[in-house]
Subunit: 173 residues, 2 copies
Amino acid sequence: MKDYGTILVVDDNPAILTAARICLGGVFGKVITLASPEGILATMNQERVDVVLLDMNFTLGVNSGQDGLLWLRSIHKRHPDVPVVLVTAYADIKLAVRGLKDGAADFVTKPWDNAELVRTLKDAIDKSKEIVPLEEVEAEHVRRVVEKCHGNISKAAEMLGITRQTLYAKIKK
Amino acid sequence: MKDYGTILVVDDNPAILTAARICLGGVFGKVITLASPEGILATMNQERVDVVLLDMNFTLGVNSGQDGLLWLRSIHKRHPDVPVVLVTAYADIKLAVRGLKDGAADFVTKPWDNAELVRTLKDAIDKSKEIVPLEEVEAEHVRRVVEKCHGNISKAAEMLGITRQTLYAKIKK
DNA sequence: CAAGAGTGTCTAAAAATCATACACTATCGG
DNA sequence: CCGATAGTGTATGATTTTTAGACACTCTTG
């Protein structure tokens, strides 16, 4: 059951970290906890982390979670394929939404439901691990661009940077 | 300035529709309004719509916006490349988040700020119109998969459905 | 009607991809 | 320490894809 790899939990409340270790220990092979976000990148460079659970409420209320967003961006920049799940207070849902737009995989609101948290984390990891063949990605993108050009194959081909004839061939299969 | 095409506004409150016509008329070449969502697909089949502004509060409070989500999915299914911006009450932000996961481009909360609404709609359209060359999409996807395989080129190539040598060639440029 | 834009198809040349192969390195269990 | 296994980097020739260029056709529009 412990096949979900390594999780990094970042929260400035030690009680939360202890709770996380207990709650998540049964699901993740390794639970790393950090009381402050400064060590995130260092930790992720040393250790292969499969998912990050990041609390947004550092420096309580001082700057409405801007710090959290900055850390999220830092993680996303260095490790674009490691999913980050945010933790916010319910009143801060707008912050969580900002986070989603900035690349977070998902978020949970405090106080959280353990089962929901685990499900959210599993989903985030599963989604990040799912790999699509190159051919499929290409076909999907071609379909969208042709749609966007309202069926104008010449324009679509130009925007895709390929020849009209090549686009024909790709559409046919 | 009216180069943002056609917008479809769906809201069961006639006053909102009137306000939308006035507020959005200066930005969009054509503002189509619908008092009920039943006509959405029919309208979109007849007319080329560039963005949809969809209120989630039909059948007030009866089923917490499930209807809105269903309409969102219908639109997204038939017209996957037309961005949909949701309108929800502030208390229903969770609904808006569900909507985002279901493919909505963005959302605004009622009561809205006109400038913010226009900005949100413009962003949604700009983003939906931006077209990426096929080569770039391919390179990005290759990069991600290689990263996900932690540098194991053989595995990455297999998952991408291409040869190891081909992957080499793609990485080199 | 004439011009322009788009379509569908063809050819031969150029480029990319494939299967296969070989030498090399690193890791791990016996 | 040795052999097995897995991965890397590179090479070759055959095969497939893509390209440039061209031609005939349809549509729309001034």
